[in-house]
């Protein structure tokens, strides 16, 4: 279907609390790096896709205006894609469809967020419906903690086991982040540190939660012909899937989570994947909360429902396990929201092209990138492979 599309290069900022740069300069840092990575120049770009989280996050609306120069987009065709937390993957999808349609050969995708300029939880509270729901689902942790409890209750996962598994996920990802030069939070934590951290929203504790990061990510998508002409090792888009569900939290089941299940299935079908745990070499799952990461393993068919905590504790999803998940440290260690989904795509592309440096999974050929957004509502997937 359509034309084959490849990712030929990526650029990321050093994510973190970046008070040393302005918001446009942060964007510029990622864009300069993708041009350095690919050896291309702005004249080579046929179109630009930009995206971020709500205006309220930084107090600036329609940011494609503000970043026209930083994205090297002056005079270029532009699209602006926003789908809340899943924005990053939706940006990648937009760039994919643009190139695949034959209308552009080379498209630059840019995602960005400077969360330390605003109040992220206040912003996310304004996503919730104002009359009925906002009173009890303020911010992100409220929604995710209810989801976690629904899940553990449904499958009878004991409190002791889930706390162990969540702590294990947190410890391994915090360790992984040391091997990722761009990661934000780099602290050594122990199982006890996680289990005894202060409660944010029960059962979620401080070290189960992602940080507020400043960061940007830029990725260049190219047609088969352009990718071959440029001649770099490319990550080929093998599948794209996206699903969204009801706005009112409570209208849909967030455990057997249809948007996550169906988004993955759509992407797997396109990529010809039948047994994801065996066939995928690495997955960059959107994991702002440890508990949610485990639920995604189940929704994506990495294991049966209710079984992920056991497999986590066996090490199935660590960097040396059967299916390494988030070897970059994931969202848990770095979360500039509008960029986060695109960082998952960039990391997956780096893995299948052998460019992930110290956190490279040896021989990775097929990778999954994912992002989630809305009121536990949207899930988007992109599968990347090292072969066309």
């Amino acid at each position: 279907m359509g034309r084959a599309v490849a990712i030929i290069g990526v650029g990321q900022t050093h994510h973190g609390r970046r008070m040393d740069v302005s918001y446009p300069d942060l964007v510029r840092e990622a864009v300069v790096r993708v041009f350095e990575d690919t050896g291309l120049s702005p004249e080579d770009i046929d179109g630009v896709v930009s995206g971020t989280m709500p205006s309220m996050m930084e107090g600036i609306a329609l940011t494609h205006f503000y970043f026209a120069e930083a994205m090297q987009a002056v005079g270029k065709p532009i699209l602006k894609t926003e789908t809340c937390g899943s924005t990053g993957v939706s940006i990648a999808h937009t760039a994919f469809y643009w190139v695949s349609s034959g209308l552009a050969d080379i498209v630059l995708a840019v995602g960005h967020e400077k969360m330390n300029e605003g109040n992220s939880q206040a912003t996310m509270t304004t996503v919730a419906e104002p009359f009925y729901q906002r009173y009890f689902i303020s911010g992100a942790p409220g929604v995710f903690s209810m989801q976690s409890q629904m899940w553990t209750a449904r499958y009878g996962i004991s409190e002791e086991k889930i706390r162990d598994a969540a702590a294990f996920v947190s410890v391994t990802h915090h360790d992984d982040a040391f091997d990722n030069p761009y990661a934000h939070v780099k602290v050594k934590v122990s199982m006890d540190d996680v289990k005894n951290a202060r409660v944010i929203t029960y059962p979620i504790r401080l070290l189960d939660v992602c940080p507020n990061s400043d960061g940007a990510c830029a990725v260049i998508f190219a047609s088969e012909e352009a990718a071959k002409r440029i001649g770099r090792k490319a990550a080929w888009v093998k599948g794209v899937g996206y699903r969204g569900e009801e706005y009112f939290f409570g209208d849909s089941d967030k455990v057997v989570w249809e948007s996550a299940i169906q988004a993955a299935r759509q992407a797997y079908d396109q990529a010809g994947i039948k047994d994801p745990r065996k066939e995928l070499d690495v997955a960059e799952v959107y994991n702002p909360f440890t508990y949610q990461e485990m639920l995604f393993y189940e929704c994506f068919g990495f294991c049966d429902f209710g079984t992920s905590p056991d497999l986590v504790l066996k090490g199935t999803f660590t960097r040396r396990g059967e299916l390494p998940c988030d070897p970059s440290g994931g969202v848990l260690c770095t979360n500039p929201i509008g960029a986060t989904g695109l960082i998952r795509v960039a990391e997956a592309a780096m893995q299948v092209t052998g460019r992930a440096g110290d956190h490279q999974i040896p021989g990775a050929k097929l990778a999954l990138a994912h992002a989630m957004g809305g009121v536990d509502q949207f899930n988007g997937i992109m599968i990347l492979g090292s072969n066309l």
Binding site: G2, G51, I60, H64, E69, E82, S90, W98, G244
Partner: protein, 380 residues
């Protein structure tokens, strides 16, 4: 182009404040556009919406809010920010790839629940340099208008004629928000907003749920006898700081050229039968005539003097009344395409133009003094 894309059906809400809530308004146009095409929600491939959080009644992540009433439940759907013609473009791309056969494109903006557009466009200003100056779209447009008058000797009366024409055209458009028979004198004497712009030369703040169903050639020809084809489209972004730009030398010619090339148009003034263009400020319609190649540089005033763009002129522009008559900010670009569709099909009702329309242009713009333009060419 890999696959041809057609518009099968359209629907829009009226521009005046509605007592319906957002969900009902959005649902109504979604249902109408699917019913007109004779398909159910289950058969729909994808949804691409357009909205902006700053124009969304204080609720962030706008598309999370209206996901259900726009038919997107468990669909692979997406959203564009700022300009609804972006959604038309992205929807068309999705069909061109072969991944989807039908895409619902919908722009959503409930103006009555938003602050003044001025308050919203102030949020485009960066917080350090521009916002303390209070730079808004209207102020930027006033700078642009002054330059336009000075450089080309355009007269204020010529600019006012745009408002006279469009608000008069709107008398025949049941969806228009503001309409009336005004004289040039009345337009110029209406309240001063930002010198030299007066109130009747500035667009109002309106409501607009605007939808269309796109389909591949194979599906479209089964759903309608009169598909309207998307022949070409492009957008172009300009520099951010208005001081970095020549405000009369916009990126619209670049966007138009790409769209014309795709559609095989060489002489736009002759080959385009009708245009619906976004003119939130009256003089901009004249400037955009020039940028779209309808006339030479500095000749926009002469073009309107000749009646060239009147409803019964050689190239009618904004027979619907345009954005001066109806301004649902984010949805207005797509509304231009909806009006172009209706004119091509001969279904524009009382404001149907006398001439036969085979090829029509839809234009959208947003940002200070036209920072970002979008153009789409539709044809029978």
């Amino acid at each position: 182009m890999s696959r041809k894309v057609a518009i099968v059906s359209v629907a829009q809400s009226a521009g005046a404040e509605s007592k319906d809530n957002f969900f009902d308004q959005a649902y109504r146009v979604t249902k109408e556009v699917l019913d007109k095409a004779g398909i159910t929600r289950d058969e729909l491939g994808s949804v691409v919406s357009a909205s902006s959080d700053v124009y969304h009644g204080g609720i962030s992540c706008a598309n999370a809010y209206y996901w259900d009433p726009t038919g997107a439940f468990l669909k692979n759907a997406s959203r564009q920010d700022g300009e609804s013609l972006f959604a038309l473009m992205y929807g068309a791309m999705r069909i061109m790839t072969g991944h989807f056969d039908t895409v619902l494109v919908i722009g959503l903006c409930k103006g009555s629940e938003n602050p003044d557009n001025e308050t919203c466009t102030l949020m485009y200003s960066d917080p350090f340099y521009l916002r303390p100056l209070g730079l808004t779209e209207t102020m930027a447009a006033a700078f642009q208008m002054k330059q336009y008058l000075e450089r080309y000797g355009i007269e204020k009366e010529q600019c006012a004629k745009v408002a006279v024409k469009n608000l008069g055209n709107a008398l025949l458009n049941p969806y228009a928000h503001r309409r009336g028979r005004y004289s040039v004198e009345e337009v110029l004497r209406s309240d001063l907003v930002v010198d030299p712009l007066t109130a009747l030369q500035c667009a109002p703040k309106s409501e607009g749920m605007v939808a269309m169903l796109l389909a591949s050639e194979e599906k479209a020809t089964k759903m309608t006898k009169k598909p309207v084809w998307i022949k070409g489209f492009a957008s172009a972004l300009d520099a951010y700081m208005i001081g970095d730009r020549d405000l009369l030398d916009s990126r619209l010619p670049a966007a138009a050229k790409k769209a014309y090339d795709m559609a095989g148009i060489k002489d736009p003034a002759r080959e385009i039968d009708l245009a619906e263009i976004t003119e939130p400020y009256a003089f901009q319609e004249l400037l955009w005539y020039e940028n779209l190649g309808f006339c030479g540089e500095g000749e926009g005033g002469k073009l309107i003097d000749r009646g060239f763009t009147d409803r019964d002129g050689e190239l009618p522009v904004n027979p619907s009344g345009g954005v001066l008559a109806n301004n649902p900010y984010v949805s207005r670009g797509l509304q231009r395409a909806v009006e172009a569709f209706l004119q091509i099909r001969g279904e524009a009702g009382e404001h149907q133009v006398p001439k036969q329309v085979k090829t029509a242009l839809a234009h959208g713009v947003h940002g200070f003094a036209g920072q970002c333009h979008a153009v789409a060419i539709l044809g029978s």
